[in-house]
């Protein structure tokens, strides 16, 4: 399936423009994650939303971005040894979901049917892709370490140009890594992960349908644990009380 014309056939010619924009967006957001600026536009929610906007489906971006953002809200780069690649995963899965195109994928609202199992399947795919990205990022950083040693020559000849060149080379590599991996992952989701959904049994579908409701709680629980539940409980409970009051007055 992933060879020759059959693989390319999943990309119709009319889709090249948003495809190029997705690659560009993925490259820029991968830079934003660590290498440059760090504006947090690379967080799952804005990344999914921007990808959805590129493909003209912001609703799909929201549907995938909100649960992913909530699930990963406790991922804080403080003393962290595992560095996942949520940017690439979010963009790839959102772009694939926009391209398929899927009906019944959006944040659930009363009266509108949502394919919960497919939603959970895509979220699971994003999680797995993000985990796989860990090893790619580790390899990239190992390469940066080697290049940093290459810069030692400037400590002998005093050439600042070499150091600048090395630094910018790392920047370019991160951009290309984000850009290319997002597109490859998008094709994998479209060509392998999504078709695989049809072959799952009914109990797995039922389980996947619960995922979108479990993930926000999972993230909130992990964050509460990090803050120390007992010490911070009153503030959290106060916020929850405010929210319930607000929902009672305005509606959920």
């Amino acid at each position: 399936m992933l060879s020759g014309v059959g693989f390319l056939a999943v990309v119709p010619v009319s889709a090249w423009s948003p495809l190029a924009l997705t690659g560009l967006l993925a490259g820029l957001l991968c830079l934003d994650e660590t290498a440059a600026v760090q504006s947090w536009l690379s967080q799952p929610l804005p990344a999914a939303l921007l990808t959805g906007l590129v493909w003209g489906r912001p609703d799909v971006g929201l549907a995938l971005g909100v649960p992913l953002q909530m699930a990963l809200v406790g991922n804080l780069p403080v003393g962290q040894s595992f560095v996942a690649d949520a940017v690439t995963a979010t963009i790839a899965v959102t772009a694939a979901a926009c391209r398929i195109p899927l009906a019944g994928l959006g944040l659930p609202v009363p009266g509108v049917p949502v394919d919960l199992a497919l939603w959970g399947w895509l979220l699971l795919g994003a999680g797995l892709l993000s985990m796989l990205g860990h090893w790619v990022i580790q390899a990239e950083r190992a390469a940066f370490g080697l290049w940093m040693h290459e810069g030692r020559s400037s400590l002998i000849d005093g050439d600042p140009g070499r150091l600048e060149h090395l630094h910018l080379r790392c920047l370019a590599v991160s951009f290309l890594r984000g850009s290319s991996l997002s597109l490859v992952a998008m094709l994998l989701v479209q060509g392998l992960w999504w078709p695989g959904f049809a072959h799952l049994g009914a109990p797995v579908h039922r389980g996947l349908g619960l995922m979108p409701f479990l993930l926000p709680g999972l993230g909130l629980g992990a964050l509460a644990e990090r803050y120390g539940w007992r010490r911070c409980g009153p503030w959290v409970l106060g916020g929850a009380g405010l929210a319930l009051l607000f929902c009672r007055v305005v509606g959920p």
Binding site: L76, A142, H167, L220
Partner: protein
């Protein structure tokens, strides 16, 4: 703020742009060393130096360095100032530069972790999720844009303050505003957590009655208790897989009629 004659607009702009790329060559061995050097090269490029000076300069900054990228402007500005003073003949030993860089780097890293990663990031992302849930997706996006602009302003300002302060940066660090800001932002994050929990709970109650709310509650319990049971924190992606395993178990346990 006292504007030092050495920090021209062109130098500040060049350092600012380079500072945005502080972590571009982040590596496990020496972390941001090349990034800091890349930023300080903006100053060095404006000096008439010989090879020997540059070699010593590179050696000083090729060592391990790590700090918080949002607050690195204080340190980069301060180091440029000390280098400029040293060049003008001030008696600043090399060891003092090293101590200044390392000790302030660690302090700003700790402050930045508390302020940005453990405070502002959860607060901002949770509020953005709430806005997105209410259908204000552009407002959610705008929130990140506003943060992006504000942090750029902070980096620009801190560069000037760092250069203006030089050796006096520890005085800035001693200001009680830092701790007050950390306290306020962390409490905002906690309230946002509660708000998010309440809104999601009300929404699930409205959408699917008790079963979806129960799954949401199960998620909270799982997120809270798994690190306590394993005595280590797991990344969100691994928690997601654990959540999938739990959902799969539930999928097999519940009957289609009762599901």
């Amino acid at each position: 703020m006292k504007r030092e004659p050495g920090l021209s607009f062109a130098l500040r702009w060049s350092m600012f742009l380079r500072l945005l790329l502080l972590q571009a060559s982040w590596n496990p061995q020496r972390m941001q060393n090349l990034g800091l050097l890349y930023c300080l090269l903006a100053w060095l490029r404006r000096q008439r130096t010989d090879t020997d000076f540059r070699r010593h300069f590179f050696r000083r900054y090729y060592e391990f360095f790590n700090t918080n990228p949002y607050l690195a402007g204080f340190l980069a500005g301060g180091l440029a100032r000390l280098e400029a003073d040293r060049r003008r003949g001030a008696a600043i030993p090399r060891q003092m530069l090293r101590t200044y860089r390392d000790s302030l780097g660690r302090t700003f890293a700790s402050l930045g972790d508390q302020l940005f990663w453990l405070g502002l990031k959860p607060a901002l992302t949770l509020i953005a999720c709430l806005l997105a849930l209410r259908g204000s997706s552009l407002a959610a996006l705008a929130l990140f844009v506003v943060f992006g602009v504000c942090q750029l302003g902070l980096r620009w300002w801190s560069l000037g303050v760092g250069f203006g302060s030089g050796m006096e940066i520890p005085g800035i660090l001693a200001h009680p505003l830092w701790h007050a800001a950390i306290r306020v932002i962390k409490r905002t994050a906690l309230v946002a957590m509660g708000l998010a929990g309440g809104v999601f709970a009300a929404r699930y109650q409205c959408l699917g009655g008790g079963s979806r709310l129960a799954v949401f509650g199960m998620g909270i319990a799982l997120g809270l208790l798994t690190p306590l049971a394993l005595r280590r924190r797991l990344p969100g992606e691994i928690m997601l897989l654990i959540g999938f395993a739990v959902c799969l178990g539930l999928g097999f346990a519940i009957s289609p009629a009762g599901g």
